[in-house]
């Protein structure tokens, strides 16, 4: 299949405005005849639902949590980028575009990224109008901070809880539309299947998580905004409920999956403390503004620290290796995430890791505390320091934080064209669950930006074009596709409920996570990936024989919910491995050991791999078909990334 990205013609900076003009409109009286389904209520979902309802469409929103405000966007800490240039430090739409393309290691679409940078400025205006309490200076204007991969200060923030405040803004807009009767909200509902009628997405099958009742919902279009799939690694910074089920079901119904192997491993997370660990906690990248990353210069000294014979604060300045500052003098501790993570791994692999397990490096604030005083540091990062203290029982004002990389974000996701439409007409993917804007590595403070750009400012335009094209005729739920989809869900649930083996679903999930982390994590190679594929296939077969699922469908049943999600994660895991295996280059977060520069940096192969890998499902237990969207760079010259 030829993938049509539908990138508009014309100069980069004019594409989006011209495209908006060329898109068909739905007249106001007709909008109320359409129903739009939105799955997921995070930044992308809530902002899309509210904006579409304001335009006059009828919107149905679904989330698995008990309230739309719990979606995991809420946990984003550091901030949101916008090319406002309020600092007068040389920022511009073009610079944000350029930084994002470069940060993504030249594997994102130019046109999409430029649009994102253009809309970034509108997002801040919108959020302020809603009453989002961003950080301000004494003059009453907005404050900014710096983030990795950029040399300007363009990150807007609300202490360490930016995601929370932005989501509450979108949630309030959503609430207003619920009050107006334009949005019908379905909490504690999980989408388990997509209904495709004559090649178009026209509905979903959901399970009411309290009663177990399966419901059919019809709509003129279906928008997935279900977030990332980092939990395929079991341990990640995602919420416990974050899952791939909605996009995986859509994938199996025909939506191509773009760059599944592009995973972001975030450099600053609290290290694993034991086998009981259920999730990992991020310490915001903003900490790298003031924290300095180091390990001891010698293995012997690291060994002493690990055994508890030497305290970090007793290691002399000369005996410390501030490896990011040493290797990347111009960006220092603010190199992009993939670079910071790989360097931490290198230090640990070199035997210079710290903490009981040796799998950690230090993030040290003593310089900043001396320079600015503890109250200043507390005002900037207080909640993060408190969180660290709660989890580790160590006071980060006195001892450096111990940090280690952890799975955080998935740049891959459903393939979408410029209009955010997947390969199934009428099915759209917004926010983290699409593959679009971050290439092979996402810069910090860009996820919130993308989620809100998609929801507030892109989909309200592009969806109208599709809807105007299909017309407002009501969707016919008597079409056999609806009954078939529901039957398929019933069968699957019954099969899951019949599993009475001897291994819990969590045990399978943990095993999958270990395979993925070991062979498809921060560094990947052909032998490891080949091995991983076999291991995952065996795990899948074993799961469907020996997993334990208890209870019945007609109740709140977390055993059943989890089993369905993990079954999908296992299948996705295999596709991620396939994708990582076929991409024999390194780029961004995807580091193939076979492809590195002499200095150990990711070495791209633009001649052979400057494309988006879009995988097509061909049938159960069949190899997926690879489709390629070649990336064309008309404005940016592809170069080896350098942050030195």
């Amino acid at each position: 299949m030829i993938l049509d990205s539908k990138i508009p013609e014309g100069p980069l900076a004019e594409k989006w405005s011209k495209h908006k003009f060329n898109l068909k409109l739905v007249n106001p009286a007709n909008k109320r005849k359409y129903t739009v389904i939105v799955v997921g209520s995070g930044l992308a979902g809530a902002s899309a639902a509210a904006s579409l309802a304001e335009l006059g469409y009828n919107v149905k929103v679904f989330c698995f949590q008990d309230s739309p405000r719990r979606a995991h966007s809420i946990a984003a800490q550091g901030g949101i980028n916008a090319a406002k240039n309020y600092r007068n430090d040389g920022d511009s739409v073009y610079r944000l575009f350029y930084d994002t393309i470069k940060g993504g290691d030249y594997r994102a679409r130019e046109a999409n990224v430029h649009r994102l940078a253009e809309e970034s400025v509108n997002i801040i205006d919108q959020c302020v109008a809603q009453g989002v309490p961003f950080a301000r200076e004494y003059g009453g204007l907005l404050d900014n901070r710096s983030f990795g991969g950029s040399q300007v200060s363009r990150t807007f923030y609300a202490r360490g809880q930016t995601g929370q405040q932005l989501l509450l803004g979108a949630y309030s807009a959503l609430n207003r539309q619920i009050h107006e009767g334009k949005v019908k909200m379905y909490n504690r509902h999980e989408m388990l299947e997509l209904v495709v009628v004559d090649g178009k997405a026209q509905g979903i099958i959901t399970r009411d998580l309290i009663s177990g009742k399966l419901e059919t919902h019809a709509g003129h279009a279906v928008l997935l905004a279900t977030g990332g799939y980092g939990n395929v690694f079991y341990l990640s910074t995602n919420a416990m409920g974050s899952n791939t089920t909605a996009i995986w079901r859509a994938h199996k119904k025909g939506a191509f999956f773009g760059n599944p192997c592009y995973t972001q491993i975030h450099p600053t997370c609290i290290p694993v403390s034991g086998d009981h660990q259920s999730k990992l906690t991020l310490m915001s990248e903003s900490l790298r503004n003031d924290g300095r990353v180091w390990v001891p210069k010698t293995q012997a000294m690291a060994e002493q620290i690990r055994k508890g014979q030497l305290k970090a604060s007793d290691v002399k300045e000369d005996d410390r290796d501030y490896f990011l500052e040493r290797k990347y003098p111009s960006f220092g501790n603010l190199v992009p995430r993939d670079v910071a993570s790989r360097n931490a791994k290198e230090a640990v692999d070199d035997g210079r890791g710290v903490g009981g397990s040796g799998k950690a490096v230090y993030l040290d604030f003593s310089d900043a505390i001396q320079r600015l005083g503890q109250p200043a540091i507390q005002a900037k990062y207080g909640n993060l320091f408190d969180m660290y203290y709660q989890i580790t029982d160590e006071n980060p004002y006195e001892l450096p934080m111990r940090i280690y990389p952890a799975v955080h974000y998935t740049m891959g996701g459903l393939w979408v064209d410029y209009n955010l439409q997947t390969t199934i007409p009428g099915l759209y993917a917004l926010g983290e669950c699409n593959f679009s804007d971050h290439g092979a590595n996402r810069l910090g403070a860009s996820a919130l930006m993308q989620g809100l750009a998609d929801g507030y400012f892109v989909i309200p335009y592009t969806l109208g074009d599709y809807l105007a094209g299909i017309g407002p005729k009501p969707v016919d739920t008597s079409h056999p596709a609806f009954a078939e989809a529901q039957k398929a869900v019933e069968n699957r649930l019954n099969t899951l409920l019949s599993l009475k083996g001897n291994k819990t679903v969590d045990e399978y999930h943990r095993e999958l996570g270990n395979i993925m982390w070991e062979y498809c994590g921060m560094a990947r190679n052909e032998a490891g990936l080949t091995k991983a594929k076999g291991l995952i296939q065996a795990l899948k077969a074993d799961f469907w024989k020996n997993a334990i699922v208890v209870g019945k469908n007609e109740e709140l049943n977390m055993s059943l919910e989890k089993a369905g999600r993990v079954a999908d994660f296992i299948e996705l895991g295999e596709l991620m491995v396939d994708d990582a295996l076929h991409r024999r280059e390194s780029c961004g977060g995807h580091f193939r050991e076979e492809s590195q520069t002499e200095e150990g940096e990711a070495l791209r192969d633009d001649d052979n791999f400057a494309y988006v890998a879009a995988w097509e499902f061909t049938g159960e237990n069949m190899p997926e078909q690879l489709n390629k969207e070649h990336l064309v760079y008309e404005n940016v010259k592809l170069t080896q990334r350098s942050y030195k």
Binding site: A75, D125, H179, H276, F457
Partner: protein, 255 residues
């Protein structure tokens, strides 16, 4: 491992909303002090699953203290014995080997039990749907820096806005009052210039919905403030009362 603990749990089990429910005793063995409270429950649930029995249901999601989904009334206190944290941030080092821990759901008429420790908090959503927003559509808003807001006001609004909607204030209150929650939401927008046009209308709508949901009245006990994982201050309640009275006395027509 040395330092690991053995505990006895008395857990509220209730099959569904109409079931009477009751305490069931479980052993939690070999618990590491570095586990979070919810990870301890995960361990107990893994055991239950291996025996083919129904695990203990509880709400949770982010496990980093921000989504507000986890609840649990632990030894008579919402989110357990420590100040200013949620249950998911509570670690087992706060307990002693051999201890008996009692775990209950939030108890309030307006928060009916769904199953075991999970309750229905949708009343909080409905209160905000009644008016907890600034009525602006997407697009067509002024530049963000055209609205100058004094730092102290922005910071104070932020403090109110950190409420995570967990419901601990209601669970802690002998009257099951939702005043701390509602007042935090009212205050955030009442403090900011963006919230002024609908200020008095908003407070009346939200209070009316709060009453309709069956939450109790506030008698200034202050348990809510003590138990709030985000340390939302009772000053918010005073602010809401002031706005509410002002609205009723002078601006009634605005609703």
């Amino acid at each position: 491992m040395s330092g690991n603990m053995n505990l006895t749990l008395k857990v509220w089990r209730q099959a569904n909303a109409s079931d009477k429910g009751g305490f069931v005793t479980y052993k939690a063995e070999n618990i590491s002090p570095d586990m979070s409270f919810l990870e301890m429950l995960d361990v107990v649930n893994e055991d239950l699953l291996k025996k083919g029995t129904d695990p203990i249901h509880f709400d949770h999601d982010c496990r980093e203290g921000i989504c507000g989904m986890c609840s649990l009334y632990i030894n008579g206190r919402p989110h357990g014995p420590k100040r200013a944290i949620t249950t998911c941030q509570l670690h087992m080092r706060s307990f002693k080997d051999g201890e008996t821990i009692t775990i209950e759901p939030w108890r309030a008429t307006a928060f009916p039990v769904i199953k075991d420790l999970a309750v229905d908090r949708s009343a909080f959503d409905r209160i905000q749907q009644a008016g907890g927003y600034v009525s602006v559509n997407t697009g067509g808003v002024p530049d963000a820096n055209e609205i100058a807001i004094p730092k102290v006001i922005a910071d104070e609004a932020f403090n109110s806005a950190t409420c995570i909607q967990c419901g601990a204030c209601v669970a802690a209150c002998k009257n099951a009052s939702a005043m701390l929650f509602v007042s935090a939401k009212v205050s955030q927008l009442a403090l900011l210039p963006q919230g002024q046009p609908e200020r008095y209308r908003r407070v009346q709508s939200m209070v009316a919905q709060m009453d309709a949901e069956g939450f109790g009245g506030c008698t200034n006990t202050g348990a809510c403030e003590i138990e709030c994982p985000k340390e939302i201050s009772m000053t918010n309640i005073n602010r809401m009362r002031r706005d509410f009275f002002t609205a009723k006395l002078f601006k009634e027509e605005e609703i």
